[in-house]
């Protein structure tokens, strides 16, 4: 577990450092994820080192949103004033994105005749 934890934290630390150094618009952890993906490619054994811990964290991913979510208590005034507009924007755009993404995939797959997994 310690090597796995070290791998995740070191990747994140490297990502944060690189984000500050380069001024890239990516959050440090996203750069860390890309770095770790490259490391997996170079040393496939690392993926098995990380697997138990990474699966454990990702299996309970939604718990991690709770502390930030509770912060809505500080935005009740904004939610009362703009809640409907925000809800409409996120609902409509999510439906549009699902439809657009799925139709694009089907169209391109059909054009290229890649086998469909039905």
């Amino acid at each position: 577990m310690i090597p796995a934890l070290l791998l995740l934290l070191a990747s994140q630390l490297a990502g944060e450092t690189l984000a500050r150094l380069t001024g890239l618009p990516l959050p440090g952890p996203v750069i860390g994820m890309i770095l770790l993906l490259c490391a997996f490619g170079l040393r496939p054994k690392l993926a098995e080192t990380a697997r138990p811990l990474a699966s454990g964290i990702l299996g309970n991913l939604s718990l991690l949103f709770v502390p930030a979510g509770v912060g809505v208590v500080g935005h009740l005034d904004k939610m009362a004033a703009h809640g409907l507009a925000l809800l409409a924007a996120l609902t409509l755009s999510t439906l549009a994105a699902i439809a657009a993404g799925a139709l694009t995939f089907s169209l391109v797959a059909r054009l290229l005749k890649t086998e469909a997994a039905e």
């Binding site: 959050p27 952890p29 964290i57 949103f65 502390p67 930030a68 509770v70 912060g71 904004k78 993404g101």
Partner: protein, 238 residues
Amino acid sequence: MKDVAEIWSYLAQSPLLWLTATLAAYALGDACFRASGRKPWANPVLIAVALLGLLLQATGTPYAAYFEGAQFVHFLLGPATVALALPLRDNLGHVRKAALPVLAALLVGSGVAVGSALGIATAFGLEGELLASLAPKSATAPVAIGVAESLGGSPTLTAVLVLLTGVVGAICATPLLNALGVRDWRARGLALGVAAHGIGTARAFQVNPTAGAFAGLGMGLNAVLTAFLAPLALRFFQ
């Protein structure tokens, strides 16, 4: 025996109380979710957030005091983002076989998710912090929170918007895609992962394993793409 108020004032100052409360509220939310037969509307996070919000209001606890304890859970968002490298690696074989459809759907889905959200919100007269908080709503929470923060949005508002996006996507995807006549599980999964991140991915895994794998892939790729797209789109709308 000491006064209850005295014990409370001690506990309310220590991180232990609110860390425990966060886990307890989530465990309760998860129990409700299982009891409902894993219906997407009984989202454990929404339930936990509602319970804790009511508890904070009832006890007059400021959010900062709550966060003293909850920060230990919040910190794990960073390592969790890094850990997404693992499912991405596991699905690299799928990507190679369907690279072009995946990339096309990713670009279109992610672009529509960010662009239409900002367009509709602007039409409703929203601006500034609210737009910056809304822009990354389809990315997985740790990434969306990081992106919103760097754009001048509110991380806590973004967290709630991300959750609601996931729940909306998970509830609506099946009827919507059936109505559109999309039968390719790869297309259905990928689109849902791109538009509705982890909650959508969890839903896709319930429906079909291929859809689940592609949803996980879509979520991971969109995390990276949103970090690039959201700042560009926001500049266009401001």
